[in-house]
């Protein structure tokens, strides 16, 4: 069974909504990295990461989100987080990531961030 699924769609303004479902761990971290960076490499600096169906993300995955956010910011964009599950949100809090990332609970609000 596929333990990580990443799909993307674009809104009319070119903002990418990247839906990450399942588990991001050491066995599939490169794929998560490639999926996220493929958009940044193509010049998209405005990304909403939809975590509604995210079950687990390890520290490397969180580090990749951080790096993506930094790269996006250099291009006047941002990486924002949508619907982070409560259990993962607690770990974000422990590491202070909730102070770094903008967190949203509706897609409409997340898109307004740009």
């Amino acid at each position: 069974m596929e333990n990580l699924t990443v799909t993307s769609k674009s809104d009319p303004r070119g903002i990418i909504i990247l839906k990450v479902s399942g588990f991001v761990d050491a066995s599939n971290i490169n794929r998560f990295d490639e999926e996220l960076y493929s958009h940044i490499k193509r010049g998209t600096a405005k990304i909403v990461v939809d975590c509604s169906d995210l079950q687990y993300i390890n520290s490397m995955g969180m580090g990749i989100l951080l790096e993506a956010r930094q790269l996006a910011a250099k291009r006047n964009g941002d990486v924002v987080i949508l619907n982070l599950p409560k259990k993962i949100s607690k770990v974000f809090e422990i590491l202070g990531f909730n102070e770094i990332f903008k967190l949203y609970t509706s897609e409409e609000e997340a898109l307004k961030a740009f």
């Binding site: 066995s27 490397m60 259990k87 202070g96």
Partner: protein, 145 residues
């Protein structure tokens, strides 16, 4: 009458793809026992980070080796012993304070141990007489049940 603790022994081969099996196993046991989802997730995160670290640390030394676990879930304590036969590796010695985010971005490393130490209440290491590494992780379950 509800059980007052759960004991579980299991082994993991040095294959990163087995991490999902490990997380699933711990989650099932912990949830069945009645631990809160937040606590379970944090414990799973710590275990996953440690195991990924062990497996990636020096895979050549692993050969066909296994990492052995002894898990005890009590009403107020989650205790996990991790025993491996790999070369000396003491993650408790690594200096970790607040995450150095610039370094995390540059090296793509350094967040895992910070996270473990923030989540786990007690984290100890010893070298076994047989030449293995024994890690003991303890997390006290507060405001639970």
């Amino acid at each position: 009458m509800p059980r007052d603790h759960i004991l579980l022994n299991f082994s993991l081969s040095s294959d990163l793809r087995e991490l999902s099996r490990l997380r699933e196993l711990i989650e099932k046991k912990a949830v069945l026992f009645g631990l809160k989802e937040d606590h379970v997730y944090q414990v799973i995160s710590a275990v996953d980070e440690i195991c990924a670290n062990l497996i990636e640390h020096d895979p050549k030394k692993w050969g066909g080796g296994k990492i052995h676990f002894k898990l005890k879930i009590d009403r107020d304590l989650f205790e996990l012993e991790i025993l491996d036969r790999g070369g000396y590796f003491d993650p408790t010695k690594k200096k970790t304070e607040e995450p150095d985010l610039e370094n995390v971005i540059k090296r793509r490393r350094g967040l895992g141990l910070v996270m473990i130490k923030k989540i786990i209440d007690e984290f100890s290491y010893s070298r076994t007489p047989e030449g293995g590494n024994l890690l003991i992780l303890k997390k006290y379950i507060r405001d639970n049940l």
